[in-house]
């Protein structure tokens, strides 16, 4: 759980530069409907997450992630598998 919190904070920090509308972030915030990101923003953001945590998030996996909470869970899983 503590690790999850650290990942949450790191993720939130990565979202910030892309969060142009300053949408408040919760676990349930959706990338598409909440943050209103287009596919180009998603691409840049995913690259930033991959580089920060040194993990690969394939497009297949990205398609299953809708919310910030789901992303954090995926990051945690991938970091633990390393």
């Amino acid at each position: 759980m503590t690790e999850n919190k650290a990942i949450w904070q790191q993720t939130v920090a990565l979202i910030e530069p892309f969060n142009k509308k300053e949408v408040p972030l919760t676990e349930d915030t959706s990338f598409a409907t909440g943050l209103e990101w287009d596919s180009l923003t998603v691409m840049d953001f995913v690259a930033a997450v991959e580089d920060e945590f040194d993990i690969s998030i394939s497009m297949n996996l990205q398609a299953e992630i809708e919310t910030v909470g789901q992303l954090v869970a995926v990051i945690e899983k991938l970091v633990n598998e390393k």
């Binding site: 287009d38 596919s39 180009l40 691409m43 690259a47 040194d54 690969s56 394939s58 497009m59 297949n60």
Partner: protein, 401 residues
């Protein structure tokens, strides 16, 4: 129940807005007559064609047409069958032989379109637990090939060897990997740093597929593509191409030296589950490929045309997709849809057809007027094209008057 079409409402709204200022719809042009590789009749008026990808002007080559007519008479209008059943005629074999000679490679497989070649190769080569690594600006057929297959898909930043290296390094060492590259990226006409990319892919033991759709015919001494121009022969595992650009007809292919290549004919669904190309098409493709091999003067003239258009448009003050003429595609970047459509319409009124490209097909949400040159554009035609661009730029206010 919601209307299945309601998801298209945003696009319908954009199109309404685009056409609300009057003028022609850039996506419903009809060529009433085609007079040559560079001239057609649209709405009763002669128009110079600068958006066809007919790079080598082979569509009206007399030898190509004669070959097609002969095959049409001798073998009929269509094959009515798959390549693996009743749809392989001697012409299909002869066409594959022409491709093997053209590329100096052991194996060639002809598909019904280039789109299907990418669909088939990518979805079949990489399976579950394996990886396909693609450029973010890849052609739709590459993206769709990824979706058709079961591999994990990883994207890297457009034309960035460092990003490719970083992403490959994160993947499991033992897993099979296919890196998909394009010699020329067709939206902006920029070419890939293939030498660096190929070295990185090899360092990580990945196989390489290179789509030379917009490079075949005029890059390299033999017109094989950008990889030949950059001295990478023998280093690409799979070269994919199309007959719908320089070759001047329709169809797609893959050539390779992989010893097990032939098994793909049985397992590649977009090859098996569709009818083969008609005999006339196959005969025109073969004749055209054989002629392209020796088309050295045409290649030179095409490059001259491309450099002249790029230089002229730059001088007028247009913003282009590349700093120099890297390919036979010159993309004019416009700030928004309104200006792009206005320019496109003004050019057509003056007698010039170019391609309008808009998001999501374009990178970074750009609006482009895509020009593709032809080896059959004469020096005078290029001069006229430049004059039309200047006039259209002034009429629309894109250029300062």
């Amino acid at each position: 129940m919601t209307d299945l079409f309601s998801k298209f409402d945003p696009l319908i709204a954009i199109r309404k807005e685009m056409l609300s200022h009057g003028g022609r719809d850039p996506f419903s042009v009809v060529m009433e007559k085609v007079l040559s590789p560079t001239k057609a009749i649209i709405k009763g008026k002669p128009v110079t064609l600068l958006g066809t990808y007919n790079y080598m002007g082979m569509t009206f080559d007399p030898d190509v047409i004669a070959a097609g007519e002969k095959a049409l008479k001798e073998f009929g209008a269509g094959t009515t069958g798959s390549r693996v059943l009743n749809g392989t005629y001697q012409g299909h074999k002869a066409c594959e032989d022409a491709l093997k000679d053209y590329y100096g490679m052991e194996h060639a497989m002809v598909f019904s379109t280039g789109y299907q070649a990418n669909l088939g190769m990518i979805s079949t080569l990489a399976g579950k637990g394996e990886y396909v690594i693609i450029d973010a600006d890849s052609h739709a057929s590459i993206y769709d090939g990824c979706r058709l297959g079961n591999a994990e898909i990883i994207r890297f930043r457009h034309n960035s060897p460092e990003d490719l290296d970083r992403r490959l390094a994160r993947l499991p060492k033992e897993a099979g990997k296919l890196v998909v590259l394009e010699g020329v990226y067709s939206m902006l006409g920029d070419i890939a740093p293939l030498a660096e990319m190929v070295a990185i892919a090899k360092k990580h033991d990945a196989l390489i597929l290179d789509d030379e759709a917009h490079g075949m015919g005029f890059f390299g001494k033999n017109g094989r593509g950008v990889f030949e121009e950059l001295g990478l022969e023998g280093q690409i595992d799979f070269i994919v191409g199309t007959f719908s650009k320089s070759v001047g007809t329709v169809g797609g292919f893959c050539v390779s030296n992989h010893p097990q290549f032939e098994i793909l004919r049985l397992v590649c669904r977009p090859y098996v589950f569709t009818a083969s190309l008609p005999p006339s098409v196959i005969a025109t493709a073969e004749a055209s490929i054989r002629k392209l091999q020796k088309a050295h003067d045409k290649r030179e003239h095409l490059w001259k045309n491309s450099r002249r258009l790029h230089g002229g448009l730059t001088e007028m003050g247009f913003t282009l997709g590349t700093k120099t003429a890297q390919s036979a595609i010159i993309a004019v970047i416009l700030p928004d849809q309104e200006q792009a459509v206005a320019m496109w319409q003004a050019l057509l009124e003056l007698g010039l057809y170019v391609n309008l490209a808009r998001p999501p097909a374009t990178p970074a949400g750009m609006f482009l007027l895509r020009c593709s040159l032809c080896a059959e554009h004469s020096d005078e035609e290029v001069t006229e094209i430049l004059a039309m661009f200047k006039k259209a730029g002034q009429i629309t206010g894109v250029l300062a008057a």
